[in-house]
């Protein structure tokens, strides 16, 4: 198991390098230069000075190498448009809010979605199954901005129960955004777990467990649950991608000063280093999540441990 984890950890390094390279090359294609964008003519010397300062006069591979060095020394460089602010500062200020929002959404999606799927599977073709799956089908299809709008309109504006926007200032601010963001993943987990639970309950080893005279509670909790979690764990990584996408939308609706909202601004103002920094950071989060998923997978299914160490 340790060897497996070390191998997976090492594998993340080339992945990160490639992701940085791709983002880097893409960013170079964006038309425009932050120092040449303004209508007001900047003297040529100043322009050249700035470009030298930010290594924009160097060939691309030198810039890339410098950037990679920066990433590994945890220095993402200065912002190109905001004076005296480094990308690190910007991330430090905005990222924790997005992370908190994402985690809250993810936690509630799992905490509700998985039991929902299990209950629906155990009560297959009953009223419970049908109503839970109805909720799940709708929750999976409705865009999060509709949920957010409805929540703000009815809960905040009409009933005046919770604040309409913002983030800092207590739990009241976090309920609606986290709920809206987590609804679709919750529905997704419920569907997935229901399907895999039903499939697991058909397996021969479940029949063996019943033949041992085990109580149904134990058959489900020990024999069925663990095996049916495997697809759910596999699905966690793509779900995280969805949640990252979702934070962009939710942050805008609820005016949360998170990293997603900042990213959109940075792209339009051609702030290369900020865009790069945020992209690399989110990639890192995704790669890290994939690593965690693989390890969890190894814990849940002993066969993969042998196969891959």
């Amino acid at each position: 198991m340790t060897a497996f984890i070390i191998r997976r950890l090492l594998w993340t390094i080339p992945v990160m390098l490639l992701v940085i390279l791709l983002t880097f090359l893409l960013m170079r294609q964006i038309a425009g230069n932050p120092f040449r964008r303004t209508a007001r003519a900047v003297p040529v010397e100043i322009q050249q000075n700035l470009e030298r300062k930010f290594h924009l006069d160097q060939p691309w591979y030198v810039q890339y190498a410098l950037y990679v060095k920066g990433v590994f020394t945890l220095d993402l460089g200065p912002s190109l448009t905001l004076r005296d602010r480094s990308v690190n500062d910007i991330i430090k200020e905005h990222f924790p809010k997005s992370l908190e929002l994402g985690l809250l959404a993810f936690i509630w999606a799992i905490a509700v979605g998985i039991p929902m799927g299990v209950i629906a599977a155990l009560r297959q073709n009953t009223f419970w199954d049908y109503s839970l799956m109805f909720v799940s089908n709708v929750g999976y299809a409705v865009p999060s901005f509709l949920i957010a709008t409805l929540l703000i309109y009815y809960v905040s504006l009409k009933a005046n129960l919770l604040p309409t926007n913002g983030w800092d200032g207590g739990w009241q601010y976090k309920v609606l955004p986290a709920f809206a963001l987590g609804l679709a993943p919750m529905a997704y987990f419920a569907r997935l777990v229901r399907g895999s639970m039903l499939e697991t309950l058909q397996q021969d080893y479940i029949r063996t467990a019943k033949a041992k005279g085990l109580r149904w509670r134990r058959v489900v909790a020990v024999h069925a649950l663990r095996n049916s979690m495997i697809p759910a764990v596999t699905a966690m990584a793509p779900t995280l991608g969805y949640i990252i996408t979702g934070t962009f939308v939710i942050e805008i609706i609820f005016s949360i000063p998170g990293i997603g909202r900042y990213f959109v601004t940075a792209v339009s103002s051609r702030d290369y280093s900020v865009v790069m920094g945020i992209t690399v950071l989110t990639s890192f989060v995704i790669v890290l999540a994939n690593l965690v998923v693989d390890i969890l997978y190894g814990i849940l299914d002993p066969r993969t441990r042998d196969a891959r160490t």
């Binding site: 901005f145 495997i230 962009f248 865009v275 690593l291």
Partner: protein
């Protein structure tokens, strides 16, 4: 990341049902005769699934509505004069969904927006499949070292965050029209399709009739085009409807944060974005286009589920009890 294929064995059908007689043959080999009856069986199974039939009909009906209604509608969104007296009306006989801030008919606007959303959705899905088929079949067919390198590259791409990636692509292109939206959406989400195609090609490659074709000296492109790709069709059709909801939602998200296609054209997502500034007073401005999006997404989900069950009878057996 390498997500291992689920190693568990096939579902065992409990005792009695197997006694009834042969179950429908799984979609295995490429005998032409059996293939036609396979599709007929799949069609029959699909039609038995009430949810899938209902939502399939809904999808079709909504698409037809979007195509036809703007021609039939008494309103011309672009050329009708602005009429503030009729702004923000509720539903009525004259305007079944009410009117917008300029007094224009929302039903007609939804049809126009739906057209663009569906066009972008289908366009991007086809693009995803095209890239996926090319990449996946090269990788799967070549095998060996090239396959390994291509798959590792794909693993790395999985580390790319979808939306930031799409946003950067849009920023590179600079203009936002239907084609750039299709490009941005497909370039960031073809990885899964490529994996599916590769897996299918690798399985099929081991079939006897492919080996036989090789043995008689068939050229690689002939094997690929005559024997391998036609047999991935079933999987690809399912994949279309599996990808479609994600792409439609992706487009809606991009539009909603202001990166959608440029006015005067508007997709359902950009309609919702227009409503962002007024939804506190007129929530319908967001709710109506969003419900249309939800309808498309939920229909595509049910169609995909129905197709998967129809083309893979094994999964259906477990559901019957």
């Amino acid at each position: 990341m390498s997500v291992p294929a689920n190693p568990r064995d096939a579902v065992a059908t409990p005792g009695g049902t197997t006694a009834v007689g042969d179950l429908a043959a799984p979609p295995s080999a490429g005998e032409a005769m059996r293939r036609s009856s396979l599709w007929r069986d799949a069609w029959r199974r699909y039609m038995q699934n009430k949810g899938a039939v209902f939502f399939g009909g809904l999808f079709l009906a909504f698409t037809l509505f979007c195509i036809i209604w703007p021609f039939v509608s008494p309103y011309d969104i672009e050329n009708d004069p602005v009429n503030f007296q009729e702004a923000w009306q509720g539903p009525s006989l004259k305007h079944p969904l009410g009117t917008d801030q300029l007094g224009k008919d929302l039903l007609t606007k939804v049809a126009l927006g739906g057209r663009i959303s569906i066009a972008i959705g289908i366009g991007a899905t086809l693009a995803i499949l095209l890239i996926g088929v090319v990449y996946g079949s090269i990788s799967g067919f070549a095998g060996g070292r090239l396959d390994n390198i291509m798959m590792r590259f794909l693993d790395a791409l999985y580390g790319l965050p979808y939306l930031p990636f799409a946003i950067i692509v849009l920023a590179i292109i600079g203009t936002n029209n239907i084609w750039t939206m299709v490009l941005a959406l497909s370039i960031a989400s073809w990885f899964t399709a490529a994996r599916i195609v590769r897996g299918q090609i690798i399985t099929l490659k081991e079939n006897d009739y492919v080996r036989a074709a090789k043995a008689v000296g068939a050229r690689w492109y002939r094997i690929l085009s005559r024997h391998l790709l036609p047999n991935t069709l079933g999987v690809l059709i399912i994949a279309i409807f599996l990808e479609l909801p994600g792409v439609i939602l992706g487009e809606a998200f991009l539009s909603f944060i202001g990166l959608g296609i440029s006015p005067p054209d508007a997709s359902l997502g950009s309609m919702a974005q227009e409503g962002r500034s007024v939804y506190r007073v007129h929530p319908n401005a967001i709710i109506i286009p969003s419900i249309a999006i939800a309808m498309l997404v939920i229909s595509a989900n049910f169609i995909a589920d129905g197709m998967r069950d129809a083309l893979d009878p094994r999964t259906r057996e477990t559901k019957e009890h």
